[in-house]
């Protein structure tokens, strides 16, 4: 083990380490709430205030629009694109509670493990839904708006793969925490 990590994990450094975990967890709990709020408001503002060209360009429709995007289409777009965001916000609300629990000094609990697992599920669902929702939006937006006729755009990016990898990482971390929980339970039976 590297010397720096050894000194970090030494028993004498434990109180400072616990305090740091609590402090960072408190900040991250607030950050989860803030990010959820910003994402929700951002999506609402995007569909209500963005110019037609920007919405079409973001949906991968780079041609010319001959009809403006109507309010009904915008509202439908908002509802459809809220699905992956809803998953993500649910995951963030679960992990916010895990951070609140960490901040209170409760680390290896079954509830925290379930919350981390839920975040992984939320990230996985959100990431898998994004290309499907993107394709749906391209159909919706091109239906009556697009001069080039109906189009389906399916976009996969390196961000999608990285998000899937990150969801896997969180899922494995939750499993490792379950193992740590079992070890902590066993340790609790030592006197």
């Amino acid at each position: 083990m590297p010397a720096s990590l050894w000194s970090e994990l030494s028993p004498s450094a434990r109180p400072a380490r616990l305090e740091r975990i609590r402090a960072v967890s408190r900040v991250l709990a607030y950050a989860c709430t803030g990010i959820s709020f910003v994402l929700a408001v951002g999506l609402l503002a995007y569909w209500l205030a963005s110019p037609d060209e920007a919405i079409l360009r973001d949906a991968g429709l780079t041609g010319i629009a001959f009809h403006p995007i109507g309010w009904l289409v915008r509202l439908t777009g908002l509802v459809v694109s809220a699905l992956p965001l809803g998953c993500l916000i649910w995951g963030l609300s679960r992990v916010r509670r895990a951070f609140t629990s960490f901040a209170a000094g409760r680390f290896f609990t079954a509830a925290n493990i379930a919350r981390l697992r839920d975040l992984a599920i939320a990230m996985l669902l959100s990431t898998l839904l994004k290309p499907v929702i993107g394709a749906l939006l391209s159909i919706l937006l091109s239906w009556q708006t697009y001069a080039q006729g109906k189009s389906v755009v399916i976009a996969l990016s390196s961000d999608t793969l990285l998000a899937l990898l990150f969801a896997g990482l969180v899922a494995v971390t939750a499993w490792v925490m379950a193992e740590a929980n079992a070890i902590a339970d066993e340790h609790a039976q030592f006197v």
């Binding site: 066993e186 039976q189 030592f190 006197v191």
Partner: protein, 72 residues
């Protein structure tokens, strides 16, 4: 379980109360009670050391190995 804890016997032989031993060792009376009943997964070396120091005995005086056949 093949390992039998004889802490009860040692406490009785030395006329020591559980409460004073728990205070000296630095564990709760509830944990000491669990230890006396053998209902723990293990004993830390420093706990064992302090019990032996207080009762002036050897670890072997506190623990006995019993064959499964003998205990059955």
């Amino acid at each position: 379980m093949p390992i039998r804890v004889r802490l009860n016997v040692m406490l009785a032989e030395r006329n020591v109360k559980s409460k004073e031993l728990a205070e000296f060792v630095g564990i709760t009376e509830a944990n000491l009670s669990l230890l006396k009943q053998g209902k723990v997964k293990g004993v830390r070396f420093d706990t064992l050391e302090r019990i032996c120091t207080y009762l002036k005995c050897q670890p072997g005086d506190l623990l006995r190995h019993e064959d499964d056949d003998a205990s059955a």
